[in-house]
């Protein structure tokens, strides 16, 4: 496979959750959690997916690995249509794309030693024999900044940062090409967060990993990602290269997000776009441009017409009538 080829290609992905109510449990509507999202990730690249709560960013990650089933659209991994696979074929593909979650503690069994928790996937997938496992686990622990004596300990004996290292080790041992990391550093303290961000970076350089990095924190995303997509209420509002997005944001929502991030420099003068109101419910999103209810620049057209997601030049995509 050439470097320029897409490792992951998501085309017009949609995920609607039915809302059921009443005595007969009829479907009375849909939460359009993900509504027509497209993403391309190349080998060794990091794509940052940014959005606030309810934007659908986690649902995108889960639909890609089929932890939940899509409603519409296409997910291609190394050219293979993931949704065409049967259960057995899907199982064989899974080691190549791994998920890491925000809270590693809840995905670790408290009674299983971490060495076993990390090694079990290898056995499951028949990628190593019982005798070889310990060596593999020790190696992956080392590359995640833990020591071999940690193998026989239980999850509760580790701090939050170390648990996230275990979560990463568990994903890494299968030698994946793509890691989907869902808010992996959000629960960590600043000093530990920096350690884990550096670990993600180093692993990418040594192993040629690609990441889909899902986060609400723009400063973390800027640090790690090559390309960034900004989601709002299930739709992508802007996608571009990192430099372009931070220097020349086109969508008012992206601008507002950037201006809302607190910067640790006291008495800093900067222009701030304070958005009014709350994020509307994804079960009942506004018509037209979904952002128009909070947009300080909205005009009449925004209330009626859904803006097209179009290339504004240089592979910088935006969905806004005014951009």
């Amino acid at each position: 496979m050439s470097i320029a080829e897409d490792l992951l290609e998501v085309n017009h992905l949609k995920k609607y959750f039915p809302i059921k109510s009443g005595l007969l449990n009829r479907t009375t509507g849909y939460v359009k959690a993900v509504d027509d999202i497209s993403i391309q990730i190349r080998v060794g690249e990091t794509f940052g997916l940014v959005g606030e709560s309810g934007s659908g960013k986690s649902t995108v990650g889960r639909s890609i690995v089929r932890l939940i089933e899509k409603t519409e659209g296409e997910v291609k991994f190394k050219g293979i249509n993931v949704y065409d696979l049967g259960p057995e074929e899907l199982r064989k593909l899974r080691p190549q794309m791994q998920l890491i979650f925000q809270d590693p503690y809840s995905s670790l069994n408290p009674r299983v030693r971490v060495g076993d928790a990390i090694g079990e996937a290898l056995l499951d997938h028949g990628l190593a024999t019982r005798g070889e496992i310990r060596d593999h686990v020790e190696e992956v622990l080392r590359s995640c900044g833990l020591s071999s004596y940690h193998i026989d300990r239980f999850p509760h004996e580790f701090s939050g940062g170390q648990r996230q290292r275990i979560g990463i080790a568990r994903a890494l041992i299968l030698n994946p090409d793509l890691i989907i990391a869902d808010e992996p550093v959000s629960a960590l303290d600043v000093s530990i967060q920096a350690q884990i961000i550096n670990l993600f970076r180093n692993l990418q350089e040594t192993r040629g990993l690609a990441y889909l990095f899902i986060s609400h924190d723009l400063s973390v995303v800027e640090h790690l990602c090559n390309r960034i997509g900004v989601m709002y209420l299930g739709s992508m509002v802007e996608t571009s290269s990192r430099d372009e997005l931070f220097q020349n944001p086109l969508h008012p929502y992206t601008k507002a997000l950037l201006s809302a991030v607190p910067i640790p420099i006291p008495k800093l003068k900067r222009e701030r776009i304070v958005l009014k109101g709350d994020i509307p419910s994804p079960a009942n999103p506004p018509l037209g441009c979904k952002f128009h209810t909070r947009c300080p620049f909205a005009i009449g057209r925004c209330k009626e017409e859904v803006p097209e997601f179009r290339d504004a030049g240089g592979n910088h995509f935006v969905a806004c009538h005014l951009a």
Binding site: S53, A194, P262, L275
Partner: protein
């Protein structure tokens, strides 16, 4: 300016099966009228326990304020009886928490919950309190106030609930507002709204704020004076511009360096090695020594005292002690 709150040599300990945790270990701080003081630190540093100690909310018998005094005006809060303390709490000192949902009663309407303190502390009649409740809801930037007053907590979003908490907190015109990670659970665009609102109320009413946060960005936006805590102790404190532009303690410097900042990209982030020490295993030493780039022999054996090094800054670090070996990075 007069000191509104004066904490002197406060220690709060917790007894666990494995031993005693000195969650807050001999700290002193002052808040003047109209001032915003931020306590910043990572999980377990004692910043929330400091706030809970002020409010008299440390749960006995496992936790106990073992030493010190907390003067609010001319009263020592630690010497007050339950009823006297209750008269001050929610009235002259109000507090908001990270999770508004857990501080509101799920089966009572929002309106009722705002009315209650008004009737208890401000001696308002029901009708008057109801009118005031609507005014308060409007004041925190919520439209359709009457409808919101009739709804229950689960019907509102996190950002709305935090606004309601602020409405309740400011309803009795407190002199001091203690805010413990008030925006940590909120999205950034909502966080910006809430911080703006807190600044506005502070300006209008002249109240003081004790803001507890782990986010240095929030500190820079809000604080007049900053206190940095580590493992139950104050390691550095100072006026906000001074502390950010000229941090002295290696921990403060490390924290500031390890936070990624928008539009200031670095190839590799600085990270403080290791992790916070186990609070049960603390021995006489600088608690930061095994993570410190500038560690000296004395740091492993002796605890540095918090000392004034300029008029605006205090630091607890052997690097700045006369007579100790000076190493400059």
């Amino acid at each position: 300016m007069k000191n509104l709150l004066e904490i002197e040599h406060l220690s709060t300990h917790f007894t666990t099966e494995e031993g005693t945790v000195r969650a807050v270990d001999n700290i002193s701080l002052r808040i003047r009228s109209g001032e915003t003081v931020c306590i910043v630190g990572e999980s377990g540093c004692g910043k929330s326990i400091t706030a809970l100690s002020v409010m008299g909310l440390i749960e006995e018998p496992s936790g106990k304020v073992v030493e010190g005094s907390i003067h609010f005006g001319d009263k020592d809060l630690l010497k007050l009886g339950k009823n006297e303390l209750r008269a001050i709490r929610g009235n002259e000192i109000a507090m908001i928490f990270q999770e508004p949902m857990s501080s509101l009663n799920p089966v009572i309407t929002i309106g009722e919950q705002i009315i209650e303190p008004l009737m208890v502390h401000m001696n308002m009649g029901k009708r008057e309190a109801q009118k005031q409740a609507i005014r308060l809801i409007e004041q925190v930037g919520i439209s359709r106030a009457e409808q919101i007053a009739r709804s229950y907590p689960h019907e509102l979003s996190g950002g709305m609930l935090q606004r309601i908490m602020i409405a309740i907190a400011i309803s009795c015109n407190p002199k001091l507002l203690i805010a413990d990670e008030p925006t940590t659970a909120l999205d950034v665009t909502i966080q910006a709204q809430i911080l703006d609102m807190l600044r506005k109320f502070k300006q209008e009413s002249g109240m003081s704020i004790l803001l507890i946060t782990h986010d240095l960005g929030v500190v820079a936006e809000m604080a007049d004076y900053v206190i940095v805590m580590y493992s139950g102790k104050i390691v550095e404190e100072g006026e906000v511009v001074e502390l950010f532009s000229n941090p002295k303690h290696p921990y403060t410097r490390g924290l500031l360096k390890s936070k990624p900042i928008i539009n200031q990209r670095q190839d590799e982030l600085y990270s403080i090695p290791g992790q916070v020490p186990n609070p049960l295993e603390l021995e006489s030493s600088c608690y930061f020594h095994d993570r410190c780039d500038n560690c000296m022999a004395i740091c492993r054996t002796d605890e540095p005292a918090l000392k004034e090094i300029t008029i605006h800054q205090k630091v607890a670090c052997w690097l700045y002690e006369e007579g100790a070996l000076h190493v400059h990075s």
